[in-house]
């Protein structure tokens, strides 16, 4: 799924992929944005690294209000994404904005989260050879 308001604000699939895969080295992101992305990554995978020192670094870039907003947003999404994954449901719309069945949506998006630029967009528009690889 993609936030409509984020898209209106100019968020693209390239930026999303860069933010997930290569934010530390990327020129697209400010230092503020990089530490927020790091906060998110650590909270999910290495929470023990979020300590007083990390919060002090965060406070160089964000107010307490913004940190609470970020932290609770991240926590909320960490919790819910795992739950939703177990329900095996898919977006109601294809990347090109068509209303699709759950079966079609599963075919387009595949059963593991992936960059929309590596399959889903092509499958949505019927590009040959874009079928998802076998999943776990």
């Amino acid at each position: 799924m993609r936030s409509a308001s984020a898209k209106r604000d100019g968020l693209t699939e390239e930026i999303i992929d860069e933010g997930i895969e290569n934010y530390r080295e990327s020129d697209r992101f400010t230092e503020n944005e990089k530490i927020a992305l790091e906060y998110s990554e650590l909270m999910q995978f290495e929470p023990e690294k979020i300590n007083g020192e990390f919060y002090a670094r965060l406070q160089e870039h964000y107010s307490s209000e913004e940190i609470v907003e970020l932290g609770s947003f991240i926590g909320f999404n960490v919790g819910y994404h795992t739950f939703f994954r177990t329900l095996d449901f898919y977006p109601m719309f294809s990347p090109d904005g068509r209303l699709v069945s759950q079966e079609e949506s599963r075919r387009i998006y595949g059963t593991r989260p992936t960059s929309h630029m590596r399959g889903p967009m092509a499958r949505a528009t019927g590009e040959h050879g874009a079928e998802p690889k076998n999943e776990d």
């Binding site: 929470p47 209000e65 932290g71 926590g75 919790g79 739950f83």
Partner: protein, 199 residues
């Protein structure tokens, strides 16, 4: 002190916060500390506290069972704050530390839990440890004991609480009271409860 300083000045007099603080004081999951930390972002404080409060006081799944699940999850999250809080409502309904320990430990072999309760405890246990096992077969088994509404209640409860525990863990916060209900400082609380999660 938690890494985000709790707000204290005049929070009671800010619109909507009197109600949140009163609710927290009554049920204690979360206690006022959560409200005071999240109060830096008032909209988030109100929305999340509303959701957490509702998850405890409304619904059709046993509150005692949900409380055991909440604590089980908080130990997985290694959160010193939520793992040491106890719901006043669950205590009033007779939940004891022994049953909490049983639910957080070898619940599968505990004869005091019903099959339905074991499924719910297993649901929480697997969600963030082995989520691939929470599959269609697993849900089919759950439907023998629970309605779909109850399963959604349980799943959403698990997701909401675990998410907040993951965040609170990073803040290094501790409960505002000792188990007897006496207010204590964060320093005393850390010393009392310790930084290792679980009994």
């Amino acid at each position: 002190m938690p890494f985000i300083e709790p707000l204290s000045n005049n929070l009671n007099s800010q619109p909507g916060f009197g109600k949140l603080l009163k609710r927290s004081g009554k049920i204690q999951v979360p206690d006022e500390l959560f409200v005071r930390i999240l109060a830096h972002a008032p909209g988030y404080a109100k929305a999340l506290h509303d959701a957490m409060h509702m998850s405890h006081v409304e619904g059709n799944v046993s509150h005692k069972l949900k409380e055991i699940i909440r604590i089980q999850l908080s130990r997985k999250a290694e959160d010193t704050y939520f793992s040491n809080l106890r719901s006043e409502k669950a205590k009033e309904e007779g939940l004891t530390e022994d049953r909490i320990e049983a639910g957080c430990g070898n619940f599968e072999n505990d004869s005091e839990f019903t099959c339905a309760e074991k499924w719910a405890l297993r649901y929480a246990y697997l969600m963030y440890r082995e989520p691939k096992k929470v599959n269609a077969d697993f849900y089919d088994e759950g439907k023998k004991y629970y309605s779909e509404a109850q399963i959604m209640e349980l799943g959403s409860f698990i997701a909401l609480h675990y998410g907040m525990q993951v965040f609170m863990r990073t803040l290094r916060a501790f409960p505002l009271h000792n188990p007897e209900g006496k207010p204590i400082s964060q320093g005393e609380s850390e010393k009392f409860y310790g930084t290792k999660v679980g009994r």
